[in-house]
Assembly symmetry: C2
Amino acid sequence: MEHRIEKIKKQLHSQSYKLTPQREATVRVLLENEEDHLSAEDVYLLVKEKAPEIGLATVYRTLELLSELKVVDKINFGDGVSRFDLRKEGATHFHHHLVCIECGSVAEIEEDLLGEVESQVENQWGFEVKDHRLTFHGICKSCQKQTVTATTTTHMEQ
Amino acid sequence: MEHRIEKIKKQLHSQSYKLTPQREATVRVLLENEEDHLSAEDVYLLVKEKAPEIGLATVYRTLELLSELKVVDKINFGDGVSRFDLRKEGATHFHHHLVCIECGSVAEIEEDLLGEVESQVENQWGFEVKDHRLTFHGICKSCQKQTVTATTTTHMEQ
DNA sequence: CTCTGTGCAAAGACTTTGCAAAGTA
DNA sequence: TACTTTGCAAAGTCTTTGCACAGAG
């Protein structure tokens, strides 16, 4: 944890940015909620617990800065809110997501999965792949169990 | 073209919706710009040429309706605007996109590519895949040619 | 006549920007 | 001092909603 903060601090410094208390608090929230795909608002509320005087604009600015530095990835599951996801240590590619259309849960897949597909795209379409976004929509394990007996009709948008 | 309008008309009727002139104009714009990934605003401006009296709200409502009927897919390339993409005839899966980070162009891939990956997700994670979104970010063919000699530094956000 | 659909304007949600004040090297 | 960062409030952008009116069956 401290080690990852240090690393981010160095990344900031290397571009002449500072790791201010507000930025550090923001990064800590992201580290403590790595699995959660927080929206800017979510981050703001959590950061406020550590640093009550922080402004929402600062959180937005910090998240944007971290995006530029590729410390976090900005993602969008189609609900009109940007979400922010910390890059894993040493991750070479952007991880994938499984969004459950029943309960809205979001799981992550770290495995690459796309290696072959990417070379196919490069060879067949002449497109030089730099990054990707892959999201599966479907029914998660626990909702499958429930749906066997129940006749749920709850759905999520998009 | 007329045949596809007819089909959509039937789909609407089957759910007790009508294909009003405004809705038809909207569908026609989508059909005529199938490759273009139009935003709601784009669609609005184009529909206005055919039906100047239409309101922006109607376009939004129509696009949402068409999304629900799965006539169009709502996508988001991370620029804060929803874009709308007509489903291809008989398409069983959502097609993929190649977004060029130099020039912003968006190309489509109709090939499935993910069949194997999906079964892997189903088997290994117990997640029942219903749909997917796959977007590659990178450099398109024509930008690659240019960048060989030029030292372009133009970038697109996210 | 009844119910659906429309246009307009207003409201809403999310995000960005301007600016003076505060902090840092 | 010179430069970066912050908080607040205001403005911006995209989208949805409320409502009276028009239209189809």
